[in-house]
């Protein structure tokens, strides 16, 4: 056995450029290279620095793309601000959103009350700040629920196929046929609770088929790759194939769609609240405030302007974030 001789370390360069290999000769060592290339068994370092240096995974590549994307930076700052505001609203306002004075109803901007007062005499600025918490909570929890439920059901259906897959696909089709707003009007009108949970539950119920369909498709795509067959040939269990090989390669589209959906769930919450079937007072929500302000749009447009503006910026930020994540994770989808 001659001393170890490695293929060239130049990573992406075509191999074999230096190997004078003749297929017709059938004996002897045919991996010969000039001795200088292999002296000491030390291959030259590739263009990405030392071979032992920190490797670049596809996730870190995606993160690198994201950090350079201005859309991601802008939406990220807005979302970070929103999250901080919903965690500590008292940092921005000392007022109480439920502390109202009918005498000040519909009044405009005043010192200490920059956004004015709404129809009940509540401070619009304080209510807008506190409304962020509701919107972010509903959006994040509904998205989490939809993503977990949808990707587990869709992923298992895609992986195992067969009858389970056929049944799930037909159920998905049925849910797709339900109009969201109409379904909300019917289902949520019977709910009396004033918490956010019925709304979140409704969104998960109607939202999971979308993610399930995407997860199923991307699991089926990933399943057909040879590396899954290779794992099976090694004797890997189903759970190992799912967790180690399929999930990491199938999760990107789910993340992308879930991020974009987050913005639409926030908008949907506002829609349902506006229609009177979503959140109910005393919960503070932009949708409720928009609904209440819409009757006075001629007399006191400021009551509508601030919560509606906050809602628009929030939804836009999440959709922009989803776009940026999509571009980074799956450039082919662009």
């Amino acid at each position: 056995m001659p001393e170890p001789q490695y293929e060239d370390g130049q990573t992406m360069a075509p191999t074999g450029a230096g190997g004078a290999v003749d297929l017709a000769t059938s004996e002897g060592e045919r991996l010969e290279r000039p001795p200088s290339a292999a002296s000491g068994g030390q291959a030259p370092a590739g263009p990405e620095g030392s071979p032992t240096g920190k490797p670049r995974s596809l996730w870190s590549d995606a993160w690198r793309d994201l950090r350079r994307n201005p859309v991601f930076l802008i939406s990220g700052v807005v979302i970070l601000f929103l999250v901080l505001v919903s965690l500590w609203p008292s940092a921005l306002t000392s007022g109480n959103p439920l502390d109202c004075d009918l005498a000040k109803a519909q009044q405009g901007s005043q010192p200490g009350h920059p956004f004015g007062f709404d129809g009940q005499g509540c401070d619009v600025y304080t209510r807008t700040v506190y409304g962020a918490r509701t919107s972010v909570t509903v959006g994040v929890l509904a998205t989490l629920g939809v993503a977990v439920l949808g990707s587990v059901l869709g992923g298992l259906a895609g992986f195992f196929g067969g009858g389970w897959d056929a049944v799930l696909s037909r159920i998905t089709d049925m849910f797709f046929a339900i109009p969201v707003v109409l379904g909300g009007l019917v289902l949520l009108s019977v709910v009396t609770s004033s918490t956010v949970w019925p709304v979140i539950g409704f969104m998960v119920l109607l939202g999971w088929p979308q993610i399930s369909r995407i997860a199923r498709g991307s699991v089926i795509t990933a399943k057909q790759n040879d590396y899954v067959q290779a794992a099976r040939a090694l004797g890997a269990s189903n759970s190992r194939m799912l967790l180690r090989h399929i999930t990491p390669n199938a999760i990107a589209p789910v993340i992308v769609v879930a991020t974009i959906a987050l913005g639409t769930y926030i908008a949907l919450e506002a829609t349902l609240s506006y229609l009177g079937v979503g959140l109910k007072p005393p919960t503070v929500s932009w949708g409720i405030d928009i609904s209440a302000a819409s009757q006075y749009i001629r007399n006191a447009p400021h009551m509508l302007l601030w919560p509606a503006g906050a809602l628009a910026i929030t939804v836009l930020a999440f959709i922009m974030l989803g776009d940026a994540v999509r571009d980074a994770l799956d450039p082919k989808l662009r």
Binding site: Y6, T11, P14, N225
Partner: protein, 387 residues
């Protein structure tokens, strides 16, 4: 490599392969013991008998009705001897890759047996199947899809040890992976890199290292070099030959490149429409072709001959020799779904069977008894409902 079975005479006639000495294992432990038992060099290690794989063609959305079947593999039998390389060639769609998947138990066989040391692996499960998986490994065709892009090279080559922890103790694995990288000619320091940082040839070396990790006895190579650049093909094939000597491996080497198969194989089997049309040493197969559509007949199509590149010399061994009974008009490409395509071959006088083999003493030449009239056997008819 010793000249294992490289004798010119004594055709290894497929349908007449020897009986299999099956090992009746009552318990799983006995089966595992049989699987772990060593096999002498030159003894049969893998014996395939009448292997069949049909893919059903169905119609209907909810209630599926079978309207036919693709006969991907339709009765294949052969022996693989310890230490030899059996090349399997055949045109695209003839069932080569399905055979590989069946040998790996990645697809369920419709019928037939694959005996590994006397154990029918198509019926094994649990611990015994896991023991078989340890001993039969696979190298895949496409090095770009056979490595998980989200895993480092160390994780890819180390995964066999995660699945079979008894092979290497945990603390020892990293060193083992680096040894394997060294064995296949890659720098052991690349252990933390990702597959996309390697070229095609390097990736195929990683795939080979993964196949070697468990110290298997058989490696099924499903067109291992056909996705590679020609210069790299030679390197990888030569590496595989070197590893065969070093680790005492038996190869089933599936390919469509005839020169590479001849280079590496001790014996060559020719598949045609899901059957093993003939099998024998490379000299028998390449220089004394007996089957009208087998490589001996097909070789010498395009490609440089020693004289003019377009017209090889008349006495050149690779010059295309028309066989008696060969139709003047090219037949449509054979396909398991097309009835009529390549049907001329069914006129084989012996058995009406494309898999029929010449007996000894038929070194080559006419196998088709009835000369074909012009136009006969043409016009493929797609199998439709009711057939």
């Amino acid at each position: 490599m010793a000249d294992l079975g490289k004798k010119d005479e004594a055709v290894d006639a497929t349908p007449n392969v020897t009986d299999v000495e099956t090992v009746d294992a009552a318990t799983e432990a006995e089966a595992v013991a049989a699987i772990e038992a060593p096999v002498e060099r030159g003894e049969p290690i893998l014996q395939v008998r009448n292997l069949v794989k049909h893919f059903p063609l169905t119609q209907g959305i909810l209630f599926k009705k079978q309207i036919g079947a693709v006969k991907a593999v339709d009765g294949v039998s052969f022996d693989l001897y310890q230490g030899e390389t059996l090349g399997i060639v055949g045109e695209s769609g003839c069932g080569k890759s399905t055979v590989a998947k069946l040998l790996m138990n990645l697809e369920r066989a419709t019928a037939g047996e694959v005996f590994y040391k006397g154990q029918d692996i198509t019926k094994l499960s649990g611990r015994a199947l896991k023991a078989v998986r340890r001993n039969i490994q696979m190298v895949f065709q496409d090095p770009y899809t056979s490595l998980n892009p989200r895993m480092t090279v160390g994780d890819i080559i180390g995964e066999p040890f995660d699945i079979h922890p008894e092979v290497a103790p945990k603390g020892d694995r990293r060193r083992k992976v680096q040894e394997l990288l060294d064995v296949v000619g890659l720098n052991p320091e690349y252990i933390n890199r990702y597959p996309h940082q390697f070229s095609g040839g390097q990736r195929q070396r990683i795939g080979i290292a993964r196949g070697l990790a468990l110290n298997p006895e058989i490696i099924i190579c499903d067109e291992p070099v056909s996705a590679l650049d020609v210069s790299v093909q030679a390197q990888v094939v030569n590496l595989m030959e070197k590893l065969q000597d070093e680790f005492n491996l038996s190869y089933v080497f599936i390919a469509h490149d005839l020169s590479i198969v001849r280079h590496i194989s001790d014996r060559v089997g020719v598949m045609y429409l899901g059957k093993m049309a003939e099998i024998g040493t490379d000299v028998q197969i390449y220089d004394h072709p007996t089957h009208p559509l087998h490589p001996g007949a097909a070789v010498g199509g395009p490609g440089p001959g020693p004289g003019s590149p377009r017209q090889p010399r008349a006495d050149h061994p690779h010059r295309r020799r028309p066989l008696a009974g060969e139709p003047a008009v090219r037949l449509p490409l054979p396909h398991p779904l097309l009835e009529g395509a390549g049907q001329v071959l069914h006129r084989d006088a012996a058995a009406g069977d494309p898999g029929a083999l010449p007996g000894p003493g038929h070194p080559g030449g006419a196998r088709i008894g009835v000369p074909l009239r012009r136009g006969e056997g043409r016009g493929p008819r797609v199998l439709t409902r009711g057939t």
